[in-house]
């Protein structure tokens, strides 16, 4: 507990947390507006194929609109949590504080565990922030879309809970990746770019593979972490997608692998 406390103290006593906060707020606002605009302007008739039309129709059901809106900010919130989690590790090497940290706690696995813990708490915090904001701004949007708030629906609360799980898992993933990519600049750039652009690029690659190589490639798309987490929180099962637990399993798998590999590497590495 001391160590997690120390990790959170480290984060609190530098400028990084409010810089990330300042970055997050406009991105959050943009996400809410984009979600709103999307649901206000789409109708099932726009879609081309029958399969797609079916998906769009499902997405426009009130319950699915609600789960999307009440988890607004997930994409960018997780991006911020991912970067902060990686920085919790990389800043130790960037600012040469790793020496001090490991002198105080020579059992390195304890340090890494504390960083996982601290990152998870950061994840919970950002989730809480976006969720509270959503609770305030979404109900008026729902009524503007002529829908009830849907807050009585278990599925909405389940989506919010799974959204929390996503934040925590990405936080763990971030720490593991921070250990793997020790250079702070490289880590933030690579993670940021791969997270933001990678999803569409990989989506395109999978689209091409599915179209021209074999149809079963479509089922592998869930292996992409961002797709997995989107799948995990989607409110009800959308037609044509793998079940939700697959997304959760994939994310948990990545988090465990990143955590174990990260810890092993940190234990072996010379600090000089």
């Amino acid at each position: 507990m001391n160590l997690i406390n120390a990790e959170l103290f480290k984060l609190r006593t530098t400028a990084i947390w409010w810089i990330m906060g300042i970055v997050l707020l406009p991105l959050y606002a943009a996400s809410v507006l984009a979600n709103w605009a999307q649901f206000a302007n789409t109708s099932p008739d726009d879609a081309a194929g029958t399969d797609q039309a079916e998906q769009v129709r499902a997405a426009l059901e009130p319950i699915n609109v609600a789960t999307s809106l009440y988890t607004s900010g997930q994409f960018f919130g997780i991006l911020i949590v991912l970067l902060l989690s990686a920085i919790i590790v990389t800043s130790e090497f960037f600012h040469l504080t790793a020496t001090t940290t490991f002198l105080v706690t020579p059992k390195r696995e304890s340090v890494i565990l504390a960083k996982f813990g601290a990152a998870a708490i950061v994840g919970v915090f950002v989730w809480l922030l976006t969720t509270v904001l959503n609770m305030i701004v979404v109900p008026p949007i729902m009524s503007q879309l002529d829908l009830s708030t849907q807050l009585g629906e278990g599925a909405v609360w389940r989506a919010i809970g799974l959204n929390l799980l996503a934040f925590v898992l990405w936080a763990v993933l971030g720490v593991g990746l921070g250990v793997l990519i020790r250079n702070q600049l490289a880590a933030t750039l690579i993670l940021g770019i791969v997270y933001v652009i990678g999803t569409s690029v990989v989506g395109l690659i999978f689209y091409l593979l599915t179209q021209y190589v074999a149809h079963w490639f479509e089922n592998l798309q869930v292996l992409v972490p961002t797709t997995a987490s989107a799948l995990m929180i989607s409110g009800t099962e959308l037609p044509g997608n793998p079940p939700r637990w697959v997304g959760a399993a994939v994310l948990i798998g990545y988090a465990i692998v990143a955590g174990v590999v990260g810890t092993l590497i940190t234990k072996r590495r010379d600090i000089s």
């Binding site: 001391n2 020579p106 010379d270």
Partner: protein
């Protein structure tokens, strides 16, 4: 001396092989309790690597290093037993000095008040809330010492603490380390400057190219490295030379008018002058060109490897 004969730090056949380079090569030495030990060697001798292996930061290729028989990584609550100052610049630039110390307190379960106490000890209280990036090199060294003292450890390890300090800062450091040793602490301090160690250390361990060159009490080691000399000034140089010849001392006149006497201690020279009724204006013991001897000892082993 009266120092206890126990060893606080034992380095045992320690070796570190980097890809092609053997930075530390089968190095063994021990550091005695309650004394200041100077860890001396030219740049690249492997001092930093040795200290980092001692502190569990770098994994040895072979051998081990222990504190009272225990590896650093096995010590219970290490910062209450061993304090270390490695690089001067190992704090987050955007964090204040006091928060840097508090962060360590939290991880180690020490009260935050220790941060203020050690800041006071090193004279940094006025700069406590200033960010680390605004610290001078001397202030960074002081913060490092404050961090090492948080757990009030019995053993202190410092890697080139005099680097980048002005003469006043070096004197401050020397006085502080001596005072800490006088309280019964064991101090191991590395340096590439012999002169500094002469003023500070009780014992020295000299390394070059990763190997042990010599180890022992500073006077013994330095005595074996260069003979003692006595510098005298007198208006009666001829009479003194005759008197000193009688006690088998060699005299060489220097360009500045003084005489350099070898083969006799200062007391013997003074006594010889007194019995011969020779007036003396100066009488000092000197070590003949110790830096030179140090360089010779480590010659061919220094430099870029």
């Amino acid at each position: 001396m009266g120092a206890p004969a126990s060893d606080d730090i034992v380095v045992d056949h320690l070796t570190k092989q980097y890809k092609k380079l053997r930075a530390v090569d089968d190095l063994s030495f021990s550091v005695r309790s309650g004394r200041v030990t100077g860890f001396l060697g030219p740049n690249g001798a492997g001092k930093t690597t040795t200290l980092r292996m001692l502190l569990g930061l770098v994994t040895p290729t072979a051998g081990n290093a222990t504190f009272g028989g225990q590896k650093y990584t096995d010590l219970h609550d290490p910062i209450r037993q061993v304090g270390a100052v490695l690089e001067a610049s190992s704090a987050h630039r955007g964090r204040s000095g006091r928060n840097h110390l508090r962060m360590i307190c939290r991880a180690a379960g020490l009260p935050d008040s220790r941060a203020d106490e050690t800041l006071e000890l090193v004279g940094l209280t006025p700069a406590a809330k200033r960010k680390f990036k605004g610290y001078s090199l001397g202030m960074k060294q002081r913060l490092g010492i404050a961090a090492a003292m948080l757990g009030n450890p019995k053993v202190l390890i410092l890697d080139e603490p005099a680097n980048g300090l002005d003469p006043e800062g070096i004197r401050w450091m020397r006085d502080l380390l001596k005072a800490l040793a006088a309280e019964g602490r064991t101090v191991l301090v590395s340096s590439h400057l012999l002169g500094e160690m002469q003023l500070l250390a009780d014992d020295v361990v000299i390394v070059a190219a990763g190997k042990l060159i010599r180890q022992g009490p500073v006077d013994e080691v330095l005595g074996s490295m260069g003979a003692a000399q006595v510098r005298v000034r007198t208006p009666q140089a001829a009479e003194l030379t005759t008197a000193l010849a009688a006690i088998d001392a060699k005299v060489s006149p220097q360009s500045d008018g003084s005489l350099l006497v070898s083969g006799a201690e200062a007391a013997a020279v003074g006594h010889a002058a007194f019995t011969a009724s020779v007036e003396l204006h100066e009488l000092v013991s000197e070590r003949g060109d110790l830096e030179q001897v140090f360089l010779q000892l480590t010659a061919g082993m220094a430099g870029i490897r």
